[in-house]
Structures are given as C-alpha cells and as structure tokens.
C-alpha cells in the first residue's frame, strides 16, 4: 500500500478512487452484525458465484458494507447508482437479481419495499429512511469499511489534511466549540471545552480515547459506526489529537462486538500504511499512535474513570472526580475521552464548517443523533435524526408505529440510567435537555418501545437487577441500596408486595442520588422513579390487588384452557415441558396448575383457529372449577 507523504498524494488517491467507481454498477450488501445474523454471508457467496457464472464479475463492484439501519428487513442489498433497495434478500433470490437487475436493468418487484399500497424502489424514498437525516451514517451503505481507499474516495481524511496544512490546534478547537458539539455518549458535555481543558493542562504528555464501551442494553449505535465507518472515528480522533496535542490514543471496544474490533484494527493498520497515522502524518511534523483495548465485560467500564482504570490493566472501578480526566487521567496524564459518535462527527464539522453543523438541531443541542429504535415497534433499526425530532415522529413516521396493532405504552430512553416516557409526552422533542425534564434522559441513544404487553414494574425490576449485577460494589449506597431495591421489586412482582414498599423505594432513590460515588449509582433509581411517576397504578395493582395488568409477572398469572373452545388436538400437551396438560384426544384438555411453570408454550402451540388457551392476570381470579375441570 502506497504511503502518502503530502496532502496532494491524498487528493490524487481520492480522485482515482472516485473515478474507479464511475460507470460501474455497485452491489452493496449489508454485512453488519444484524444482517450477518440474518444470513447475509451466504447471500454474499451466492452473489459472487452467480456473477461469475454470468460473466459479469468485472462489470460490477460487490461491497460488504456496515449497517444500513433497516435491520429488521435484512439482509439488505442496494444497487447503485440507481439506489435500488432489495430487502430480506435470501441466497435463493440472488440468481434472479443478477439475471434481471445486473444484466438487464430490470427490477425484482417482490424484494422491493411496499407500504400503504405503494412500491418503493430507491432506499432513500422508503419512509423508514425518508424521515431521517443521515450525516454520520451517510456513507454506511456505500462504503466498504475494510477498504481505506473507499473512504478516501468519499472525501475521507480530507478534513485531517486540511487541519494539518491550514489550521492551528486552537483554530480546530474553536471550530468544534463554535459548532457546539456535545458528547454523544449521554453526558452531553461540550466536546470543545473538554478538548481545550486537556490542551491547556500543564503535562506535555496527553492522551485521547474513543469510548466504544457501549454498555446500555438495547443500544447499538456505536457498534454500527465502528463496524461500518471505522475510518470516520479514527479521522476524528487524529484531528482531536492534533488539536489537543496528544501523541497517543486508545480505542476501548467491548468484547461483545467482535466485528467492530476487527474493522477498527483493520482501519488502524491501513491508515498507518497510508501514512495517515503514525510518524509525520501526511509529511507534517505531527505524529500520533493508536492502540486498541478490548473490554472484558463490565457495564461500569463505560464510566470514564473506570474505563481509564481498565486500560491501565486494573479492575474498572470508578473514582471520585474532584480531579478531572482532562487534568489527570490515563496513567496520571491529561486525557480527553469522547464517545464513538462524537469523534465521528468531528471530520464532518471540519469539512463542512461549524455553521453547517449548527443549522441542524435545537437551541441547546446541535446536529443529528443516532438512535437504536427497538422493542415493540413495527420497523426496528438504526435511525439518525436531527436533534429536536419528536418521539412521535421517530416511533410512528420512521418506526411505523406499534407492532401487530397493539397499543403504545411507553418508550424507554437513556439505558439503565434513563426512564420510561408515556404516551402523553410523545410530542416532546428529543434533545439533551427535554428528556431530562421528563425524568428520563437521551443517553447514548437507546430507544426501546413498549406496548401494553410490557409490565412497567417488571421493566423497572429488570433495570435495577441489571444495575445490581453491574455495580462494582466500591461504595455502600450503590451496593446496598440497589440490592434493597431489587429485593422490594422482586417482592412486588412475585405478589408479596406490602403497603409502604413504594415509599421505601422512593426513600432509597433519594439516598442513591445524593450519596453514590459515580453516575451508575446516582442514576440507578431513575427506572423506578420514572415508572412510579407515570405508571404508579401498575405498582398499586401488584401490591394491593395482587394482579399484573400486563400479564407478565409469572406469580400473578395463570394459563387456562377454555373447555368450550378446546378441540383436544393435543398440540399444547405435546409441547408442555412439565407434562402439566392432560386430556383425551378430541376432548377438552386441562392444565394442572400445580405442575405448570407458566412458560407460555401452550399459548403459542394452540392453533389460531381454536384460541382455547388463555392467560389470566391472577391465580386468585381463576375459578377453582376451571383450574381442575
């Protein structure tokens, strides 16, 4: 690989990369983790074989790209330049795609998106995409993340070249400050201010870190950026290092993301070979080196001081932050730590200017934000929208509303430190400040939609249980307070709730927020507080009426068979793991409640035309006659 020794070399490479794709058909196949789970690899193999067979291999470029976002309908194949978007592509579909689209320019209609009686050919016209503003993810469906020249062909590293040749470090910091770029990991701290503090710290040795420890369950924005556009993050980091005066940097990537790790390592290796990383970058006096540190599975490691401990090879326990990382961080040196998405925004701001960046967003939150729109929503996937887009627009216009026509109940944002927002607040614009006022937070971008089949007490219990496991145990309020909350919530969901439990939960919440050491502890009660705020009646139903209105909490539900409807087909009995269901063939079956483990297999097994199995919300409401009849 040729090493660039000047910005001019880079420019020439950009032109030749752009030229090489001119006039050639590009088949861009999503190969992010989501699509790989949907068998995108066999599709790729079939594509290569089929193109070879048709003698068309030279005429087209086949790219395995990062996440296209519409994960639910993967594997996704987009044909450029027409931008024809085929969804849920299976290996069997490939021969037809090659024969029709590649060789004749015709469409394969059955693989196109259809909605409300309309057929959509272009990816960007599909409602899931047309309501988005994809800036950070702009090239995710176009670029091969394993090929640095592809990134260069889309103006990659142009911002770095510009900065090294034409701007002083202070000018770079001023541009980021003027853009008002706030940290995308959830804190929302102004990145430019952090950069400046680190730059101004006295110690000449400084570090920059990419926080890729995306621990919030239900969030995969950073995974997709690292998988699909690792060079954007790397370019942002190098620019930051130049502005801050750092000579070494680290990527911290959680071990649950093997593909993100592979693609990042490859990006670093290629950037080094091209002279865009290492000594005398692009022939300038600036040198900068990067290492990758793999996480070992600890949610608290995403906290900045804990993350720094982990890179030093120690357990990831947070420490008090009376001294900031920007003054004394990694190995005691001034350290600037930003989230993956924050770094990925940097090259865009430098290339297009702070004014361009500020043109999108709200008063206090500029630019776009990536969200993982998941849960009980019709179209799950990764979406990027301007700050200030309302929850309703995201869930209904982009996400297509609630799955299977059920009713919306809440949307959970901000990960385990966030909260649940009810229908009444769906028109709230999403930015750093508005969601905090509702008792939740934007966080890093997880957005989990829940319908009426979710029990809010169970959801709160789920998060607190998660935090109990993840609390490092260093400080007492967090260690003991969270454990006590779990005990109470388990009691409530098991039908053993007592009067006074709610008040006790609220007391612990105050204690945690005031006395815990780090963000994990101080925000640990948020899931409980926000569900109490908006869904108090569900807590009361569990405690006083001993029912679970959503029919989730096992101790408060029972499965029964309607003797009138049951045709005795035996489908349920065959699958019942505890042999709790008995009955003669073609006669009504019954469930022995003493043996039943409430796994729900019978409900799924009962043929739709009979609908004989039902879930009821409390054992106490099941008449004795039905239980034993």
């Amino acid at each position: 690989m040729e090493r660039f020794s000047s910005p001019r070399d880079l420019d020439q490479a950009r032109q030749s990369a752009a030229q090489s794709r001119q006039g050639r058909l590009t088949l861009s196949l999503c190969s992010g983790t989501g699509c790989l789970a949907n068998r995108s690899r066999p599709v790729y193999e079939a594509l290569i074989a089929e193109l070879d067979k048709a003698g068309a291999a030279d005429k087209v470029i086949v790219k395995r790209t990062g996440c296209h976002g519409f994960c639910e309908r993967g594997p996704i194949l987009v044909v450029y330049p027409q931008e024809i978007c085929y969804l849920s592509v299976q290996p069997d579909d490939v021969a037809e795609i090659v024969a029709k689209t590649v060789l004749k320019g015709e469409l394969v209609d059955r693989l196109l998106w259809k909605q409300a009686g309309k057929t959509f050919t272009r990816q960007s016209d599909i409602p899931f995409y047309s309501h988005q503003t994809r800036q950070v993810l702009a090239h995710n469906s176009l670029m091969d993340p394993a090929d640095i020249d592809d990134y260069i062909g889309y103006d990659g590293y142009a911002a770095l070249a510009d900065v090294l040749a034409n701007r002083t470090p202070q000018q770079v910091i001023d541009e980021i400050k003027r853009a008002d770029l706030r940290g995308r990991g959830g804190g929302g701290f102004p990145a430019g201010v952090k950069w400046e503090t680190t730059r101004n710290a006295a110690d000449p040795v400084k570090y920059v870190i990419v926080n890729g420890d995306e621990g919030d369950p239900g969030a995969y924005m950073d995974r997709s950026v690292l998988e699909g556009a690792p060079h954007s993050v790397l370019e942002g980091l190098i620019i930051g290092a130049y502005a801050i005066g750092a000579t070494a940097g680290f990527f911290y990537i959680r071990q649950e993301y093997p593909l993100a790790l592979t693609n990042t390592l490859k990006a670093i290796e290629q950037a080094e070979a091209r002279g865009l990383l290492g000594d005398n970058i692009l022939g300038s006096p600036f040198s900068f080196h990067v290492k990758v540190h793999q996480g070992a599975g600890a949610f608290v490691s995403g906290e900045s001081s804990a993350l720094v401990s982990a890179i030093e090879g120690r357990v990831g326990e947070p420490r008090l932050k009376y001294i900031r990382q920007s003054v004394s961080g990694l190995f005691g040196k001034p350290t600037c730590l930003n989230n993956v998405e924050t770094w990925a925004n940097v090259p865009l701001i430098i290339r297009n200017g702070a004014d361009w960046f500020r043109a999108t967003g709200t008063e206090g939150s500029k630019g776009t934000k990536i969200f993982s729109l998941v849960g009980q929503v019709e179209h799950t996937g990764l979406v990027e929208v301007p700050m200030g887009t309302t929850l309703r627009q995201i869930i209904y216009d982009i996400g297509g509303g609630i799955k299977s026509g059920r009713k919306f109940k809440a949307v959970q944002t901000g990960g385990p430190s966030g909260g649940c927002i009810p229908e009444a607040h769906l028109d709230t614009p999403v930015d750093f400040d508005a969601l905090t006022q509702l008792g939740s937070m934007m966080g890093s971008g997880g957005m989990i939609v829940m319908d009426e089949s979710s029990c809010m007490v169970d959801v709160a219990r789920y998060f607190v249980e998660f935090l109990k496991e993840e609390s490092c145990g260093k400080c007492l309020p967090c260690r003991e307070g969270i454990r006590e909350m779990v005990t109470i919530l388990n009691r409530i969901t098991q039908g053993q709730g007592r009067p006074g439990d709610i008040a006790f939960l609220e007391d612990i919440a105050v204690l945690l927020s005031e006395a815990a050491l780090c963000g994990l502890g101080t925000s640990a009660a948020n899931p409980v507080i926000s569900t109490l705020r908006y869904f108090r009646d569900e807590y009361e139903a569990h405690i006083h009426a001993k029912t679970c209105p959503a029919g989730v909490c096992k101790a408060l539900i029972a499965y029964t068979i309607d003797a009138e409807r049951c045709q005795g087909c035996g489908a349920c009995a065959k699958q019942c793991p505890t042999k709790a269901i008995t009955g003669e063939k073609k006669a009504a079956h019954r469930i022995d409640q003493k043996k039943c483990v409430k796994c729900g297999v019978c409900l799924d097994a009962c043929p739709k035309k009979y609908r004989a199995v039902a879930k009821v919300s409390s054992v106490s409401v099941v008449p004795e006659a039905v239980q034993t009849a």
Binding site: A37, C71, E72, Q376, G446, E470
Partner: protein, 158 residues
C-alpha cells in the same frame, strides 16, 4: 477446534501472548482475554504464570479475572450458547427464549451440559437489538429460534 478445549493453553503459548503485548503490566486484561479465547476458561496455573510473567501480584490477577464477565474460572463446554438479556430482547420475550434453551439443554445459567458440548451463558446486550430476542452459538447469531428450530440448530454442533 474441539482440541483447544481439551488441552490447556501451554505455558509457551501464554508466553507468546504476553510477548505480543511487550510484557507490559497494563496488558493484563488483554492477555487474560486472549487466553480465555483459546482455552474458553482461565485455569489456576495460567493465572499463576501470567502473574509471575507480568510481575503483578496473584491477588490482583484474581481480582481482574473475577471482576469482568468475559472470564471464567471454571472449565466451559466446547460451544458457548449466549442468550441476550438486553432490554430490547427482554421486552420481546428473552426470558422465555432463555427458559426454552435451558430446558432443552437441561442446565441453568453459567452451567455446562454433562457431555461437555455446551455452556449456557447470558449477556446484557450483543447489539443485535433489532432482531431480538437473540442468541449466539459461538459467533453465529440466531433470531428467536422456536423449540423445533433449536433442536435442529443444536444438532449441528458436536
């Protein structure tokens, strides 16, 4: 590579891993991750060897090995089945998926089947949220397999 689980990472191989990181103490977690990846668990003799080579007190190695979830101090099965318990998977039925797998294998969380074929683990999020509930067998992901699917999938592993 079924042999890898039978045989422990020999001390030579551990030395080679440590040398890759220049023998630096700060590489402790990375070294343990690499050994874990090869052996699927961390044996006591591996921990002792790492401690002496990196010149880190054994209790500190033990502290790291027990703090992070990726490490196992017990021998694991030839294949790891990881059920995602992330929020998105939770609201789409991961507890029921977990029960299904657990019943099929006859083991609880963190445990290994008697024949040493599978270990059943949970994880808090694999980032496959749009396809939830999801499980992974080694590095292959499966979206909400039914009881019948599971039988078919599991039979492909030795």
């Amino acid at each position: 590579m079924p042999e890898a689980t039978e045989e422990l990472c020999s001390l030579d191989r551990i030395d080679r891993i440590i040398d890759r990181y220049g023998g630096q103490r700060s590489a402790l977690i990375q070294v343990l991750l690499d050994i874990q990846k090869e052996d699927k668990w961390l044996a006591e003799e591996s921990l002792r060897h790492v401690a002496s080579r990196l010149n880190v007190p054994l209790p500190q190695v033990y502290q790291v090995a027990t703090f992070y979830k990726a490490f196992s101090l017990a021998r694991r099965g030839r294949h790891l089945i990881t059920v995602c318990m992330g929020t998105a998977c939770h609201v789409r039925g991961s507890p029921r998926l977990f029960d299904r797998v657990s019943q099929k294998l006859g083991v609880g969380p963190g445990k290994t089947t008697h024949d040493g074929r599978f270990s059943l683990l949970t994880v808090n999020c694999m980032g496959c949220c749009a396809l939830g509930p999801v499980l992974a067998i080694d590095e292959d992901y499966h979206s909400n397999p039914s009881a019948a699917d599971l039988g078919r999938i599991l039979s492909q592993y030795e």
